[in-house]
Each structure stands twice: as structure tokens, then as C-alpha cells.
């Protein structure tokens, strides 16, 4: 299909969103590789950067996190994939507000440009991490990059908040109002349930983030003191004149920041459910339970933010309360994982590339999810907080699970977009190297964390510590990260060649049941559930949602 730039077609916008995420993920990955190289060879001169200064390293961390979390993991699986297939999956003609949809994309692109511009202003990008804790982020003299760079960061995320609202309103109205006749709640594909939950979460939490950003901007430029306490002394000057509290920012930020994780990973959970059903040729046992658990995870996700703050100075009794809500969220997550394992157990698995990546998603979801209950315990978190153990945890459960769900979606919907199949052999090669290198990169970080190594350290050897015991571990992580990044060239090559010369896809190449694969978009009633595969009877029999129920009986 031809891609027009100023388009209001939801599918074209979906592709644009994915391309934007691709730009962000390439930038974010390159930044992380420079960080990894610097950690094992601190004096190495990197092209374009030279020798990395301490503030340069922190700028890399900040920009890596911001790019990956906002512009890749929030963008691609949610609004990107939803634009590709959501209207078709519910039998709608299109998104409810096509022009709003286009505006949302262009705002997102603007936000990305503003963020990347932070590299090119005097003193460079901000160094306060993607969480931007004040007063470091509130006072320009607190460090290099906290001046113009931080202003650009704030502007970028504020624009991103607006874009996310528009996208979420559009998705929500589409799901609530544009479903085809007969597309009842229990006939929605699980992806739609996930998008429903994430769009509600987006509306709730990005509002709070935007408010927090405006308050912080006001502290920086209009002399207010929401986050800066009285008498705060930065760089020889007293900057605190009101009675602000840095803890207020932590509460506001993490009220956004934790649900944000679910915004990134819930669409992957929905997609994994669909793919497991499809490639195992099985119905989803306990469909209602699985859907309810997605909603439960979303709702519980709103009341667990305090587990990021056990050692922040928050009241220790509040720590206990947040520990319990966090532990509670393990229950619906466990139900989901067991539900998937149950689908897989009785199925006749077709191990095509999308399925492999969905299985990889499940593997990372389990691997990263299981350290959740450890970090949910304030006593243990009081040792592990802000160490590499946490870095390992969220890179497995959010980043790798999220990225594997993105890969699964791209391999799966590629024929829908391009009319061609992606190369299976290259896909499988890509999967296996990525899986092994991802574990090789992120699993050993648990050991660095247990050894006590904090995050955001630009070098291992400090005035009183050497961390020499984990130097070999760190080298292994860096080499594995290099392999992980290079394996993605296989993926890019596969996309590049398959778009032009891939095998032409037949109609419904995966023998799927959901409506995006329907041969024509008539206005017939939907009379079937989303996953009517008949594996106990016959693996070739399945009933797509566009088939009428009467045909069979």
C-alpha cells in the first residue's frame, strides 16, 4: 500500500506510529550500547561522543529510558497496533475520530523531535533519569543538562501526554461505540480488552503526569515551590523559598509511572492470548476470567505506586499497605500465566515465527514477573531498591516482554499490511538469537544487583568500592547486549526484503478467527466468539468471527 504522509487512514497511521517507534528504538538501543561499552571500558572514545563524561553517561541513561518507555513501549503495542487492526477487529469502519487520530500522531512525532533536540542544546540532555526527581530536576544549577535540556524534556513529555489523551479518547470511543452489531463484550478479541483497559489507564494517569510536569515547570520558571523545600541549598545558592516537598513529585510521578508499565505490557498480554489460541488451535479456556484479570491488573495497577517509594521517606505503614496491594497484583498475573500455559498444554502448537515470539513474551513475563514478589517486600526492597536487580526485573518483564510482543505483532500482521509473508527462516533465526542474547544481557544483572551495585553508576570503581568481583559479569552483559542489538539487523533485513520480495500471502494466512482477517468488511452481524478453534475434534476446523453461526449448526 502507498503511504500518504498527512493521512487520516487508521492503518496508515498505525504504520507511521510503528515507524516512529522504530526510530526511537534504534536511537534508544544505540544509547544503551554506548552505556554498556562505557561501563566496561570507561576510557573508550565513542564516535560522536568522545570519551564519556559522568554527566554524559547520565544523559544517555535518561534519554535511553525516556525514548524506550514513552516512544517505544507506550507507542507501538498500544496506539500503533490498535491503529493497525482495532477497527477491523471490532468490525468498525474506522476509528471514531480520524482527524483527532492524525493529530495525535503528529503530536507524538513533535514530542519525539523535541526530546531528541535536548542532545543539541548547551550542556546537553538532562541527567536526572526518566523519573526526573526534584530538586535535581527543578533547579537548573543542580547539574549539567538540567537547564535547557530539562526544559525540552518537560516540553516533550507534556506534548506526549496530550497526544496520548487524544489517542486514548479515540480508542475508547471506538471500542465503546463503533462495534459491529453482535460484537458483544464476550466476543471481543483479548487485544481489544487490553486496549480498552490501557486507554482508560492512559486517560487517568497521563493527566496526573501532565499536572506534575506543569507544577515542575512552574517551580523552574515561575518561582513556585511545589517540590523544592525551604532552605534548599544547591550549588552554593539557596533555591528553596517555599515549603515544597520532593515526595509530592514521587507520589504524582509514580501514580503515573506504575500504570504506565501496564500500559506497555497489557496489549502484549492480549496479543499473546490471541496468538496462543491461534497457533495452538484451541479455544481460550476461561475467556471471561482472562478478560476480567486484564481489567483487574489495570485497576490494581492504580493503587500500587508506593512500592517505588519504600525507602523514599514515605511512612513505613504506607509501605506495608502498598506491599499488600502489590502482592495482590501477583494473583491476576499468575492467573494469566496459568491460563496461557493451559492453552498451550492441550494444543497442537504450530511454531511459526509470531508464535515463537509470543512464547518468548510468556517466558520473559514469567522470568521478570517472578522477581516482582521479591521487590514487593519492603524489607527486601530496602536492600535491592535502585540496584541492578531492579534493572534486571523491569528489563525482563516490561522491556523484553514488551518488545517480544511487538515482534510477535509485526510478524503476525505483516501479511495484513503488506500482502506478503515475512521470511520464516530469518524470523526463526532472529527469534533464537534475540531470546538467548536477551537472557544473556538481562539475567546476569540480578547478580550485579545482589552484589549491591546501584543504578546510574557511570563506572564500577568508586572512591571506596571497586565492584571488581562483578567485572566479569559486566563484561558478559556488554558482549551479550552487542549480540542482542546486532541480531536486530536480521529483523530489519527481513522487513526490508519481505516488503518487496516476500512470498505473496494467501487470504487469512494464519487461519485466524478474528475480524481483521475477514475477506470483506460487510455489515453482517457477528455471531461467534473470538477463538472458535476446534482442536479436540480436528485441527483444521475453525470458525472465524465473520462466519454466521447458522452455517454450522
Amino acid at each position: 500500500m502507498r503511504l500518504r504522509v498527512f493521512t487520516t487512514s487508521h492503518r496508515a497511521l498505525g504504520i507511521l506510529y510503528l515507524l516512529l517507534a522504530l526510530v526511537a528504538v534504534i536511537a534508544g538501543t544505540l544509547l544503551s550500547l554506548i552505556m554498556r561499552l562505557h561501563r566496561i571500558w570507561p576510557d573508550l572514545a565513542v564516535p560522536f561522543f568522545g570519551t564519556i563524561k559522568p554527566e554524559g553517561y547520565l544523559a544517555l541513561v535518561t534519554m535511553h529510558g525516556t525514548l524506550m518507555i514513552f516512544f517505544v513501549l507506550t507507542t507501538a503495542p498500544q496506539i500503533g497496533f490498535a491503529n493497525l487492526v482495532l477497527p477491523e477487529q471490532i468490525g468498525a469502519r474506522g476509528m471514531a475520530f480520524p482527524r483527532l487520530n492524525a493529530a495525535a500522531f503528529w503530536l507524538t512525532a513533535l514530542a519525539l523531535l523535541v526530546l531528541l533536540a535536548a542532545f543539541f542544546v548547551p550542556q546537553g540532555a538532562p541527567i536526572s533519569g526518566w523519573t526526573s526527581y526534584p530538586p535535581l530536576s527543578a533547579v537548573a544549577s543542580a547539574g549539567p543538562g538540567e537547564g535547557a535540556g530539562m526544559d525540552l524534556w518537560l516540553a516533550s513529555i507534556a506534548i506526549f501526554c496530550l497526544a496520548s489523551w487524544l489517542g486514548a479518547v479515540n480508542m475508547l470511543v471506538t471500542i465503546l461505540g463503533e462495534r459491529r452489531a453482535g460484537m458483544t463484550w464476550s466476543r471481543l478479541p483479548m487485544t481489544v480488552w487490553a486496549w480498552l483497559v490501557t486507554s482508560i489507564l492512559t486517560l487517568l494517569v497521563f493527566s496526573v503526569l501532565l499536572a506534575a510536569i506543569i507544577l515542575l515547570f512552574s517551580d523552574r520558571h515561575f518561582g513556585s515551590s511545589f517540590f523544592v523545600p525551604r532552605g534548599d541549598l544547591v550549588n552554593g545558592h539557596i533555591v528553596g523559598h517555599g515549603d515544597g516537598s520532593p515526595l509530592l513529585w514521587l507520589h504524582l510521578f509514580w501514580f503515573f509511572g506504575h500504570p504506565e508499565v501496564y500500559i506497555a505490557v497489557l496489549p502484549g498480554m492480549g496479543l499473546a492470548t490471541s496468538l496462543f489460541a491461534n497457533f495452538a488451535r484451541r479455544r481460550v479456556a476461561g475467556y471471561r476470567v482472562m478478560a476480567a484479570m486484564l481489567v483487574a491488573i489495570g485497576l490494581l495497577g492504580l493503587v500500587v505506586w508506593g512500592h517505588h517509594m519504600f525507602v523514599s521517606g514515605m511512612n513505613p505503614y504506607a509501605g506495608t499497605a502498598f506491599a499488600l496491594t502489590t502482592m495482590a497484583i501477583a494473583v491476576p498475573s499468575t492467573v494469566e500465566a496459568l491460563g496461557w500455559l493451559t492453552i498451550l498444554w492441550g494444543g497442537r502448537l504450530r511454531l511459526r515465527t509470531p508464535m515463537l515470539f509470543a512464547l518468548g513474551f510468556l517466558s520473559f513475563f514469567i522470568a521478570g514477573g517472578l522477581t516482582g514478589p521479591i521487590l514487593a517486600q519492603p524489607a527486601l526492597d530496602a536492600y535491592l531498591h535502585n540496584t541492578f536487580f531492579v534493572v534486571a526485573h523491569f528489563h525482563l518483564v516490561m522491556a523484553m516482554a514488551g518488545v517480544f510482543s511487538i515482534f510477535a505483532g509485526i510478524y503476525y500482521w505483516f501479511p495484513l499490511i503488506s500482502g506478503r509473508m515475512m521470511n520464516e527462516s530469518l524470523g526463526k533465526l532472529h527469534f533464537w538469537i534475540t531470546l538467548i542474547a536477551a537472557y544473556g544481557t538481562f539475567f546476569p544483572m540480578h547478580f550485579s544487583g545482589l552484589a549491591g551495585e546501584p543504578r546510574h553508576y557511570e563506572r564500577l570503581a568508586g572512591p571506596v568500592t571497586s565492584f571488581s568481583a562483578i567485572a566479569a559479569n559486566e563484561r558478559g552483559i556488554t558482549f551479550s547486549a552487542l549480540l542482542l542489538a546486532s541480531a536486530q539487523l536480521i529483523f530489519l533485513w527481513n522487513i526490508f526484503t519481505s516488503v518487496r520480495r516476500g512470498r505473496v500471502a494467501e487470504a487469512n494466512p494464519w487461519e485466524a478467527t478474528t475480524l481483521e482477517w475477514a475477506p470483506e468488511m460487510g455489515r453482517g452481524r457477528v455471531e461467534r466468539g473470538p477463538y472458535e478453534y476446534e482442536i479436540p475434534a480436528n485441527e483444521t476446523i475453525f470458525h472465524p468471527q465473520w462466519e454466521l453461526a447458522s452455517k454450522q449448526e
Binding site: 535535581l136 547539574g143 523514599s312 536492600y383
Partner: protein
């Protein structure tokens, strides 16, 4: 033999640094059991996953017993409850209850990119500090107010020296931005937040030196913001503190 030694080394490297605090052993046991339990869950889930993949070659499709997932779910929920309860006990011991009245008071002050430790002196009271008086070059890094008599005998050190076996009540502050006060060997971490005075208490139980790190990104010198905790015998501690007191009185300032 060498192989066994190497393996032991590897396990030791992959574990936490040796513990020197009274509350540490219980926490280490909890950490170990948690990690073992969750590693087992990881392995079982992956065996299940791989078995499901291999089963597809069998001709006869099978259905798993319906009750099995619910049994596993119940077992896992029981494990989560066990984790929450056992761990809450440790948390409550260290954070809900305050220190014993006899605990030694030490103030910890973080600033970019340095830790300072202040001992209240013989009057057991800290003198008033004012940010506008902070002047590290003139020997007053914390801004002690000379008009306050309680501050006359306060000792400010860049090394944290503590007597073994005595509970210490740390009073955490920050002058500028949020810092993270982290002693891996004492299994202790709490942020130092500007505008707040936060208390944590613990008892060092093993003589030795332990690195103190900053665990919350605080600016360009974050990775260099480290100090040393030195746990010494009671007698050594008294001698050290007395020597510091004498110097302090002789200097007289501020």
C-alpha cells in the same frame, strides 16, 4: 578441588556482600528462600512450556486436568501470602518501632557529592544548622550556627565510625537534592530527602569496614558519592570520638 573452589567463588560473587548488621542474617535467610522459591517457579513454568511444545508431536491431543491450574494457583497464592507475612515482620521490626532510648544518635547529611556524619557530642544534642551558613571551604560544611551552644561540641566527620554492638539511630538529611543512603554490608537503605529528617536505626554486629554508596541519582558525581563505615570496638570508638572532640574544642570554630 579447584573446580569446587571456583564454583564457591562464583556463588559468593553472585551473592550479597557479607553482612555486618544484627538484623542482616534474618534478611539474608528471607532473601535466599525467596530466590529459591521463585527460581523453582521459573523452572517449573519453563519445563511445562517446553513439555507443551514437545507434546505437539504426539498424535493424540490431550487436555490437562481441569483442577490442576486451580491447585497451582492456590499454592502460588499461599506462597505470596507467606512471603508478604514473613517479610512484613522484618519490616515492622526495623521501621515501625523506633530505636531504643539508649541508641546512639548520628546525623547523616548528603550533599552533592559527599556524605557528612555529625556526632552530637557530650551534651547528646545537635546544634542548629542554617543553610545560609554552609561554607565547606571555611570548615563548616553543614552550616552550624555558632550562636547555638549545643553545637559547640558537635563533631563532623567524613567517615562514619560506629562502635560494634550498639544500636545507632541515624538522622538522615540532605542539603540539596535527593540522595540514597545505602550500606550494602549493613543491609540498610533510605533516601536522604531535602526538607525532611528521616530516621533509620540498626545495630552493627561485626567489626570491619563497609562501603557507603549513594543509591539515588543526584547529579554528575553520583557514582563518586561514597564514604566508608568503620565498625570498631567500643574502646576504639571512645578514643576516636574523644580525639575528634579535642580537635573540635581547640579549633573552636564556628
Amino acid at each position: 578441588m579447584p573446580l569446587r573452589v571456583t564454583l564457591l567463588e562464583a556463588v559468593r560473587v553472585a551473592w550479597m556482600p557479607s553482612n555486618g548488621a544484627l538484623h542482616g542474617p534474618a534478611l539474608d535467610v528471607l532473601m535466599r528462600w525467596n530466590l529459591i522459591a521463585l527460581c523453582l517457579c521459573f523452572l517449573v513454568a519453563h519445563v511445562w512450556l517446553i513439555a507443551a511444545i514437545l507434546r505437539r508431536w504426539k498424535s493424540k491431543p490431550a487436555t490437562a486436568p481441569k483442577a490442576l491450574p486451580w491447585l497451582i494457583l492456590t499454592a502460588l497464592c499461599a506462597m505470596y501470602v507467606w512471603m508478604a507475612v514473613t517479610s512484613q515482620r522484618l519490616w515492622a521490626n526495623s521501621r515501625f518501632a523506633g530505636p531504643a532510648p539508649a541508641a546512639m544518635q548520628v546525623e547523616v547529611v548528603g550533599e552533592q557529592f559527599q556524605w557528612y556524619f555529625r556526632y552530637p557530642g557530650e551534651d547528646a544534642a545537635f546544634g542548629v544548622t542554617r543553610p545560609e551558613l554552609v561554607n565547606a571551604a571555611e570548615g563548616n560544611p553543614l552550616g552550624l550556627d555558632g550562636r547555638d551552644a549545643r553545637g559547640k561540641d558537635d563533631v563532623v566527620s567524613s567517615v562514619l565510625v560506629l562502635p560494634v554492638g550498639r544500636e545507632v539511630d541515624l538522622r538522615l538529611r540532605s542539603l540539596d537534592v535527593i540522595h540514597g543512603f545505602f550500606i550494602p554490608g549493613m543491609r540498610l537503605k533510605e533516601n536522604a530527602v531535602p526538607g525532611l529528617v528521616l530516621h533509620v536505626h540498626f545495630t552493627p554486629s561485626v567489626i570491619g569496614t563497609y562501603p557507603i554508596l549513594c543509591s539515588q541519582v543526584c547529579g554528575s558525581g553520583h557514582a563518586r558519592m561514597q564514604a566508608m563505615l568503620s565498625v570498631v570496638s567500643q574502646a576504639e570508638f571512645q578514643a576516636w570520638l574523644a580525639a575528634r572532640e579535642r580537635t573540635r574544642i581547640q579549633e573552636g570554630a564556628p
